[in-house]
């Protein structure tokens, strides 16, 4: 219990560097701008003007923008950027397995795509 109080008091003094009210609204506008950019691509470039086609290229852009948004939420809103580096490593290292999982499932999906299509038992229409 005394340990808890000790942390709570030291916490107030120095911990949250860089996240005053101005910083919060700055991150909000970055998130808003990134979302607006996604909408501009989806509604404007793809739908309205037809400059871009739905496909791997826009998907990569969407995923990249999503990851940037995720970074801002985790780093600033969830305050992870200002924690001790040991803690940052501790909570993020497990996601290596998620990357591995994505690779595995894409390979699996690719296999199914080519093999189920020609299989007589699973007509796809």
């Amino acid at each position: 219990m005394s340990n808890h109080e000790n942390i709570a008091t030291t916490h107030d003094h120095h911990d949250h560097g860089g996240m005053d009210k101005k910083g919060i609204w700055r991150v909000f506008f970055i998130l808003l701008a990134l979302t607006a950019l996604e909408f501009l691509i989806a509604l404007g470039f793809v739908h309205h003007w037809g400059i871009l086609q739905k496909g791997i290229f826009v998907n990569v852009i969407y995923i990249a923008l999503t990851l940037v948004k995720a970074f801002y939420i985790i780093a600033y809103f969830m305050h992870l950027k200002f924690e001790k580096s040991g803690f940052i490593v501790c909570v993020s290292i497990g996601f290596i397995f998620i990357v591995y999982f994505i690779v595995l499932m894409l390979i699996e999906g690719d296999y199914l795509l080519y093999h189920l299509q020609s299989h007589p038992l699973f007509p796809n229409n």
Binding site: F39, I63, T66, I73, H79, V91, M105, N124, N125
Partner: protein, 245 residues
């Protein structure tokens, strides 16, 4: 220095992991909240990766722009992404009010914490409300767990019922997989939002009861805040994979 030299072994260790202090300078409950969120992130990742794998395995897939194209009360069709855009904005906004509540807690300002928590709860309720409208709309079209608009039909009627939702080849299996995964994943997310609203209400009433003022710290607001931001974070991914791609 030379007279008081101590050997290497006798030196008092003062590194962060040598004991006597908290190496991460974080309170226990906050660390546990982080670990819970990591495990929860794994669950959501598994859901979304399975969705991606299904989409990758099917020769054709439903066109999200054709499924989600209504704005309740304004336009019945032809407006893809607009309604979900409003939902996304609401959730990001409520995330901001949550950080502002945490920030007010750092400064021990009870009145501000109450104000921002109220806005956060309101945002959460608005989001869940929008999701309920979206679900009702899809349900009316014939999508549900284990069901798509062509369920129960035979012959040419299947392709006819599904034609409005596809741009490429029509597939009953793909429509069914989409339906199942949409309701499962957004349902699981909506469940998280609902729990978050409940936690926010509890924290708000504790603030009003002066519990944190007596405790001298608003750390509890921070812990629930972490959860709330996580819910927002998951929505960012759901939005991308269900509505954009």
């Amino acid at each position: 220095m030379s007279t008081t030299t101590v050997s290497q072994l006798d030196k008092v260790k003062d590194g962060p992991w040598s004991g006597g202090k908290s190496p991460w300078n974080l309170e226990y409950g906050k660390i546990m909240m982080w670990f819970f969120l990591v495990s929860d992130a794994f669950t959501f990742s598994a859901f979304l990766i399975y969705y991606g794998a299904q989409k990758f395995a099917q020769p054709t897939w439903i066109d999200a722009d054709k499924v989600f194209q209504s704005i309740p009360g304004i336009a019945e069709s032809g407006q893809p992404l607009v309604f979900v855009g409003i939902m996304t904005f609401i959730l990001i906004m409520s995330s901001v009010t949550m950080v502002l509540a945490v920030d007010a807690g750092h400064r021990n300002r009870k009145d501000e914490v109450v104000k921002w928590m109220l806005w956060t709860i309101l945002g959460g309720l608005a989001f869940v409300g929008c999701q309920a409208i979206e679900w009702t709309h899809l349900h009316h079209q014939g999508f549900w767990f284990g069901r798509n608009p062509a369920t129960g039909l035979e012959g040419d009627a299947v392709a006819q019922a599904l034609a409005p939702y596809f741009t490429k080849d029509i597939s009953y299996t793909a429509a069914l997989q989409f339906s199942n995964l949409f309701f499962t994943i957004t349902g699981f997310h909506g469940f998280h939002v609902s729990i978050g609203i409940l936690l926010n209400i509890i924290i708000l009433s504790m603030t009003l009861n002066n519990t944190f003022e007596r405790r001298g710290t608003y750390l509890m607001v921070e812990k629930v805040g972490l959860y709330w931001h996580f819910v927002d974070l998951v929505w960012v991914f759901v939005f991308t994979f269900f509505y954009l791609i």
